[in-house]
């Protein structure tokens, strides 16, 4: 069965991929651009790679300069996430994702958060504001 959830477009695009959940806020500068592996000490994702994932996390953190730089390095190395599902986007995440043309959504149905599990395969249609767990 496929479930569909409403969400709100931050940056447009339609994409499919596997979910990676982070309960902690994320600083992209503390991700190794060569591998996509989170290197931040004591982070819930420490040691895991975010490369190619649809990343679910509460909000960004760290100064806007390092955050933008982190996102950019990951984009250039191709080891960044495929898309972002964020609870509280900020100006750097919004601006960077739009200019990088990476799909991003916020304001997702609360039910999605209750059902989604790591590794779920998801179709994210940011442009039209919905997403499906397959």
């Amino acid at each position: 069965m496929t479930e569909t959830f409403a969400c709100h477009k931050v940056s447009e695009g339609i994409i499919e991929g596997d979910i990676l959940l982070s309960s902690d806020d994320l600083c992209f500068y503390l991700v190794d651009p060569k591998t996509g592996v989170v290197i931040e000490k004591n982070h819930s994702l420490e040691g895991q790679s975010i490369a190619g994932k649809i990343l679910v996390f509460p909000s960004g953190k760290g100064s806007s300069v390092v955050q933008a730089d982190g996102m950019y390095q990951l984009k250039m190395s191709g080891k960044g996430p495929k898309a972002l599902i964020i609870k509280y986007p900020d100006t750097v995440l919004v601006a960077s994702s739009i200019i990088m043309e990476m799909p991003v959504v916020d304001k997702v149905d609360e039910q999605f958060y209750q059902q989604v599990k790591n590794g779920d395969h998801v179709l994210l249609d940011a442009t039209n504001g919905h997403l499906q767990i397959k």
Binding site: V65, D90, V92, S96
Partner: protein, 400 residues
């Protein structure tokens, strides 16, 4: 969001691709923050950082034909010509800074290369709606001048400069400017440096809340207010504060809280400041340099250092970062000569967080700025943090 015809035109590409991207980003921001509409901005400041991402973003805008409607002042990168005289700058770093300069020029920025624009060339009046990025700027604009800006990133501020608009949310709205927590300062605030500690100590006790200070001196210097805001915003993402009897939206305690009660009352004691101080500083020892001006020193601060080193000799190299105007004034007034004679120098148009300082990597210095220490951790520099007078003494002894 409700857009005007002109704003819709921007979004539809009527004013070119660059303006279109900028407006797209701003509409997304507006949606995210539940803004009803856009408002015109009359001033902007972009925290140019000369990092790859920064350059990439602005070049992308330039290539898409963007031109600022409201020319922003910009932060410093580094003064290439100066550093080429005193150290080796890699080909790559040279190329980057030259491209950064060109891109910001082409997008129509005002090339101030200064991180205290609010003291110098980009001063708002009360109530003006603006878009400033740069951690020390945002609180100064909101708190000291009573003008209005959100906590912009370099990118969102550049978009505002390009479209001349910003979504109406956050600190642009009356109700979000009200004080939330009363901060009773029991510690004695003796000098500008104590405001650094105060700014760092408060977010330990309250995150993301707008503080209302009472029992601090009522004639703080601009440097004091700058320090307070810079640290509040760096350590705690707090882009606005009130000081009762000092800042214009806090003529009284009631005024600051807009008639409501404080959500909370906290006190800051001498011990709080000492604790914070211990926490942020690296341990003492032999030092290799002294570094000031993060944020850029103003001419009064330069004068102070100059008087301290007059006719004396420094054991370690001392640098003061300033705007080019401050350096020019220091030259006219003889301070630069005095500093140079003692073994120091003024570096204009330069930020702490730039590759030009590589010759200091792995070394230990003194500074009065927690922000400076905070940003340079990732560049592998150690900092002992003290007030200016103690820093200078240390620089004359070579250790602390």
């Amino acid at each position: 969001m409700q857009l005007t015809e002109e704003e819709l035109g921007m979004l539809d590409g009527k004013y070119g691709k660059g303006t279109q991207i900028a407006m797209k980003i701003q509409v997304a921001l507006g949606d995210v923050f539940n803004a009803e509409r856009m408002v015109p901005v009359s001033r902007t400041h972009v925290a140019l950082s000369n990092q790859e991402a920064d350059l990439w973003f602005v070049e992308k805008m330039v290539n898409a034909g963007a031109k600022c409607r409201v020319s922003p002042t910009v932060n410093p990168g580094f003064n290439l010509e100066y550093f080429q005289c005193i150290t080796k700058i890699s080909k790559k770093d040279e190329e980057t800074i030259l491209r950064t300069r060109k891109a910001y020029k082409d997008v129509g920025a005002t090339l101030t290369f200064d991180c205290t624009p609010y003291l110098e060339k980009n001063v708002p009046r009360f109530g003006e709606i603006t878009a400033y990025s740069e951690s020390s700027a945002t609180p100064f604009i909101n708190s000291v001048y009573g003008a209005r800006t959100n906590r912009e990133s370099a990118q969102s501020a550049l978009c505002a400069a390009i479209t001349g608009r910003t979504p109406l949310y956050g600190f642009l709205l009356d109700e979000n400017r009200k004080g939330q927590v009363l901060v009773d300062v029991k510690a004695k605030i003796k000098d500008d440096f104590d405001y650094q500690l105060l700014g760092y100590a408060v977010p330990k006790k309250l995150k993301f809340k707008t503080p209302v200070f009472v029992n601090v001196p009522t004639s703080p210097s601009p440097a004091a207010l700058m320090n307070l805001g810079a640290q509040l915003n760096t350590a705690g993402n707090v882009p606005m504060y009130h000081i009762v009897g000092v800042t214009p939206e806090a003529r009284t305690v009631e005024d600051a809280f807009q008639g409501s009660d404080p959500e909370n009352v906290i006190t800051i004691t001498e011990e709080d400041l000492e604790k914070v101080h211990d926490e942020i500083t690296d341990p003492g020892g032999k030092i290799d340099f002294a570094l000031f001006g993060c944020p850029h020193f103003n001419i009064d601060q330069v004068a102070h250092v100059s008087h301290l080193v007059d006719q004396k000799q420094l054991k370690v190299k001392l640098f003061i970062m300033t705007s080019s105007l401050t350096k020019e004034l220091a030259h006219r007034m003889g301070y630069l000569d005095t500093l140079q004679a003692a073994g120091g120098d003024i570096v204009d148009d330069t930020c702490m967080d730039q590759p030009c300082w590589e010759f200091l990597y792995g070394k230990k210095g003194v500074t009065d700025s927690p922000k400076c220490a905070y940003y340079t951790k990732r560049r592998n520099m150690q900092f002992v943090i003290r007030n200016v007078d103690e820093c200078i003494e240390a620089a004359m002894r070579g250790e602390i």
